[in-house]
Symmetry: C3
Subunit: 325 residues, 3 copies
């Protein structure tokens, strides 16, 4: 394990939904190889209008992602003098600047700052997932601790296998704390207090506990995890991608801002969707169908159910109410 | 429906509580007429010390508010070139400036910017509801989608009729997203993740589902909705209006700010109530009654229940404990 | 009660855990004497590496803290002209400046501004509790209203006695509002809407209601409250103090900031723990034990349970898996 692990992300193309299998070696670790391939995959899925969703699962028989490669985290600290929170804050800022400037490895490869730069990149990748119209689903075929849990929280949905598995943030037990967003996304997912106690104690959740508090969205038999995740991905994936992107940005970023700032974020995102080609097309179609039927499509018997299945109101309820009844 | 709908807000004066009936025409739509009358009503209720609460209900037999007039939203986009989020953000800023400057219709009536200006005004009205000491209660006699749901979230309490009704945000299905605060107030009401999934899928809540997650406060038989809403309005309406205003501002705005900023908002609001005439009067009264009885009024047997009924501690527990027992 | 109450905080040293008994006189009030002694105690516990936790309980037979000395709050208002929110905000700012500048009593003792300065100091003490690696537990032997409830919310955990007791914020009934953080910490603990309704109505929670919504963490028989609180304090107190401090700051402050600001706070705190002596020691130990056993310690049978008991991964799972089985 102390050797450099060659992790791999195997991507299977299934049309609108990609399935990405995380192979973190025999110990199932998340290291820099996986981080780099994940970043590339997120960019590809975000930029390709034909890709609606990405489902992640693990190749290890009992684990989604065990946790981060510990050497990765440890080396970041070992070669830098102990600097305290103020110094670490400056370091985090510098790392952010380095990533923005590009040209990473040429400048920082194998220097003491390199692991901090890599950590910052993982944060940027997770934030890109939150900003994207792609639906990301974690198909938790087994346990996920530390960075494995944090990667799960950065997805939009989580389906977990029932069984003797756990998900959570044990970092306190190693004298550190979550560093991949766990102390921020878990509170926003399950509430500040439940997250605080879980992270302070280091005790992970069982699948049933995770479901109970909303840390995962569904728990199914292990052999149904991937199918269920794909089903959810296809369901949300049938909605317009531009709308999903606007909604995700409004809720993830506006929802954790002050109310007035959040409302401003919403207004900007809303106006962009109202001005979009698909927004204009679907609103005009809805108005025409209302006129044809003499009733709002979403209030005609059975139409809302059809629309939820189809993913848009296109053509819905175009016949008159008399005919439908 | 594609004709300009002449909506109307019928206001019934019942002393401390006003009942406002939303008449959005045969299709139950929320358009600019209702928006303007709502703004006037909110200003009146806020400014009149005798008005403690406003209860809203719909005149349509099965609907509170169907949703927004779609033409209102669509026209805002159709006449403006597609501008992306950056341009839309600038547009939202401009619209805010126009509203602040007043003189709306003279400058922008029937120009392409007009619908964006109207949207911004709806936001300002909803924010005034959040800042006001008036208790606003939505008596949901039926369904509420889109702007109808968003108007409900802007109230302080929601009572919903049991039956085949729905409440929620279906905008994604029309290629747009919530634009009246739904992506901000629903997350703050039921949690970020539940709101995200509901808005991404467009699937509305049944009354039972809405109650379960806290999106509405009570579900009763349709013919009891208005009475129950008035009962809740009168209960909270018996508390001092200045205190209610300070509390609403602290929780709605401070509660979604950073902890330290929120605490600063609280301190300012608290000091204002502590310096107020009614605050001084009630604190001095409480101290006198403590001295007379030899015990704190709120800890005397039965007194807290009486105070909760009366709405203030005025005169509570003034007799000695021996006498009360 | 209108006499100046001489409150006292009796501190019992039990090694890593201190037990502090709040004696607010016969009426169980929280006044400035207790506020000053609390501030001193928090500084001592935070600065002493041997102190891991502080448990607070009340000496009154039925109450943790009745509420604040009302005269304390009232006098702050009586001598200052009614200034409105804008003036109160300026006053709060001035009070903050005075506290930062030190030299309190010399400059402001017995001036009209003095109570506002004292209030600001209570806020600073509560914030120090949130920033500290010390685990603070409220052992609620009875009721806690107003400032008593606010002090409870400023702790990390709350254990409450079952019985005819209440906890909550009745300030609205006295024409004021919570002024010790209640309108900010209760929303972050139980959700904005539940907190808003509780504070607007002034109705307190029973122990069962408080447990149901997460306002307290456990409800036990009155004679077990202190023992249960100490047990929880010792459990979390076995984790490294530097990690706990970093986690508390990230969740309390980052968790209520915008997502991106929160992530930056986390990164700074994380890097500081990764660079710390104990973080480096435990990560190197974990890596060595992984190599010795051929498996990650946290994934070896039974090891996670041992680690949760011990408080760190030190020495965990060092033997090979064959030997363990």
């Amino acid at each position: 394990m102390t050797e450099e692990v060659r992790g791999n992300l195997e991507v299977e193309d299934r049309g609108a939904v990609l399935v990405a299998r995380i192979d973190g070696g025999p110990l199932g670790l998340f290291g820099n190889d996986i981080a780099e391939q994940l970043d590339t995959l997120v960019d590809r899925a975000d930029g390709d209008p034909a890709i609606q969703a990405v489902v992640f699962t693990g190749t290890h028989p009992d684990r989604f992602v065990s946790h981060a490669e510990v050497r990765w985290l440890q080396e970041g600290g070992a070669t830098v003098p102990s600097v305290g929170v103020r110094g670490a804050s400056a370091l985090a800022h510098t790392a952010r600047g380095v990533n923005r400037a590009g040209g990473l490895k040429t400048a920082f490869g194998r220097t003491p700052l390199w692991p901090a730069v890599q950590l910052e990149r993982v944060h940027q990748t997770f934030l890109k997932m939150n900003r994207s119209g792609v639906v990301f689903v974690a198909a938790l075929n087994g346990s996920a601790l530390g960075l494995g849990a944090e990667f799960s929280w950065a997805n939009d949905l989580r389906v977990m296998a029932e069984g003797d598995y756990v998900i959570g943030q044990p970092e306190v037990l190693l004298g550190i704390m979550p560093g991949g967003g766990g102390s921020q996304r878990l509170p926003r997912l399950v509430g500040n207090h439940k997250a605080l106690l879980a992270i302070l104690s280091g005790e992970p959740f069982t699948p049933a506990q995770a479901l109970e508090i909303g840390a995962v969205d569904d728990v199914v038999a292990p052999d149904q995890v991937l199918d269920r995740a794909i089903e959810l991905a296809e369901h949300l994936g049938s909605r317009p991608k531009t709308s999903r992107a606007a909604i995700k940005r409004s809720v993830y970023f506006g929802g954790s801002a002050s109310l007035e700032e959040g409302l401003h974020i919403e207004r900007s995102e809303f106006l962009a969707t109202a001005l979009s080609d698909i927004g204009q097309e679907l609103m005009l179609d809805y108005m025409a169908n209302t006129e044809a039927a003499g009733e709002l499509p979403l209030y005609q018997p059975g139409v809302f159910e059809e629309v939820l299945q189809a993913g848009t109101t296109r053509g819905a309820g175009a016949t008159s109410q008399e005919i439908r009844r």
